[in-house]
């Protein structure tokens, strides 16, 4: 199939950026979206032009590196699918596709479609861990964890930190990301010790990075490649409230 791409090009963080239109010829429906971009880039490089810069690494939907807004949907809008696993069979011949980077103040554009998601790392550094140094830990079976709890913790822990939730939210809110980590660790007995301090600190870090807040539109949950749900945001709200209450009493 043949397609027309409208791609955001931006040299660096200072550049204003603009859209450039490229044709994409002879695209096979078995290609992934990123492989389609590879083909377009091959053409550009052969002509001596600079290829479209976009982030990708594992290309199997788990590293969370790829980050494209495709026709207004983060990762292209297929259920539970990252851009690298989005296949061209979901597009039709002659279609025009607009490709933009994640847009949020805490995710400045580095170049073209590549953004800096260091804000997520800093939020984790603020408390998204269990302070268990290596060694000296008890046998793994010492504390049983109920299967439903372990399963729910895993639902939250699956977050790949891609930032699609921020990209899709009209407020560029990182609530789903923060909620997933707070819930994952807070639900497990090993993480309960630092639960209150963790949630207070991570929410503060989230605000300081300049993310927006939650209007419960559900846009994040709709694009999340790991289908992490709004229930975790509710849990974050509850955990924060309880931590504030406890720290005041």
């Amino acid at each position: 199939m043949n397609l027309t791409l409208k791609v955001w090009r931006q040299r660096d963080a200072q550049d204003e950026g603009h859209f450039v239109t490229y044709p994409a010829h002879d695209i096979s429906e078995d290609m992934s979206f990123l492989e389609m971009l590879d083909v377009v880039n091959e053409g550009l490089i052969t002509k001596g032009e600079e290829p479209i810069a976009f982030d990708s690494d594992c290309r199997e939907g788990i590293c969370g590196t790829c980050s494209l807004v495709i026709n207004g949907r983060a990762h292209g809008g297929q259920r539970a699918t990252t851009a690298c696993q989005l296949h061209m069979r979901h597009f039709s011949d002659g279609q025009t596709i607009t490709i933009e980077p994640w847009r949020a103040r805490p995710f400045p554009v580095v170049r073209d479609l590549i953004v800096d998601r260091g804000a997520f790392d800093r939020v984790i550094q603020s408390g998204g861990y269990i302070s268990a140094s290596t060694g000296g830990t008890p046998d793994a079976n010492t504390l049983p964890v109920g299967k439903p709890t372990a399963d729910m913790a895993m639902d939250a822990a699956q977050c790949i930190g891609c930032g699609a939730c921020v990209a899709a939210c009209k407020n560029a809110s990182a609530m789903l990301f923060v909620a997933a980590k707070v819930s994952h660790l807070g639900m497990l007995p090993q993480g309960a010790v630092e639960k209150d301090a963790r949630v207070l600190s991570m929410v503060r870090a989230m605000d300081e990075e300049g993310f927006g807040n939650c209007t419960v539109t559900g846009a994040c949950e709709a694009v999340c490649p790991k289908e992490i749900g709004l229930d975790f945001i509710s849990r974050l709200n509850r955990d924060y409230l309880s931590a504030v209450a406890k720290s005041t009493c």
């Binding site: 009209k170 407020n171 809110s173 209007t215 539109t217 509710s234 974050l236 924060y240 504030v244």
Partner: protein, 225 residues
């Protein structure tokens, strides 16, 4: 942890303020509607209800001040949050596909501001500087007559119906998200709260709009003669 900081300076805290004040205002909307619906029981009931409220000035003013504070906080938090949100996305997408979210959820600030304008208008219209100040046979403010007179003007009735539609639109999202903001919405409760929000929004709309619609259809005309 400083509770002021944790609540008033954090995004989550501001959402609690939105939720709690929203809940109070929602309670008022229900009470207000139930009170107003007494109009269908005739002039006697509604005028007596008005007089009853006026007979407890302390309670009335406490309620009024409480509501005013709620409106103030709700508005303050909303503006703060919206400003934070605007700042968080300095450059807009060229193409935006909203298929993951509802229209009501994305337009809360607009429906809220229009409802606020309506409330101010409504207060002047019926409470602060009512055009009609006539008394009924028992010397009470003739609320029945005032309402029927007011809604006899199709423009005025239309504006009320429109504003109530927006209010309920606001509630359809606001009621469910206040449970989310307060951390109560999870698992099967989420579905319950969603249903509750939609149902009460419709209920309030039907209840409130029934009065102007009934007047336009001829209700209360005889009483005016």
């Amino acid at each position: 942890m400083n509770i002021y900081k944790a609540i008033f300076l954090s995004s989550l805290g501001k959402k609690y303020i939105m939720g709690v004040t929203g809940l109070a205002l929602f309670g008022f909307v229900i009470g207000h509607m139930l009170g107003n619906l007494q109009i269908f029981l005739g002039p006697e009931k509604i005028n007596a209800y008005g007089a009853l409220l006026k007979s407890m000035p302390k309670l009335l003013w406490m309620a009024r001040l409480g509501l005013l504070a709620c409106v103030g906080l709700h508005l303050w938090a909303a503006i703060q949050l919206v400003r934070q949100n605007r700042k968080a996305r300095p450059s807009a997408y060229k193409v935006v596909d909203h298929s993951g979210s509802s229209f009501a959820s994305r337009t809360m600030i607009w429906s809220g501001l229009i409802v606020l304008a309506f409330i101010i208008f409504h207060l002047f219209d019926f409470t602060i500087t009512p055009e009609y100040t006539g008394k009924d046979s028992e010397g009470r403010h003739d609320i029945f007559r005032m309402v029927v007179l007011g809604f006899s003007n199709p423009l005025s009735a239309g504006w009320y119906i429109f504003a109530n539609a927006l209010l309920c639109f606001h509630l359809s999202h606001g009621v469910k998200s206040l449970f989310q903001s307060l951390g109560l919405s999870s698992g099967k409760w989420r579905g319950w709260f969603n249903t509750l929000a939609i149902s009460v929004a419709w209920l309030v709309f039907v209840g409130n709009a029934s009065i102007p619609v009934a007047v336009l259809l001829g209700f209360g005309k005889e009483a005016l003669k």
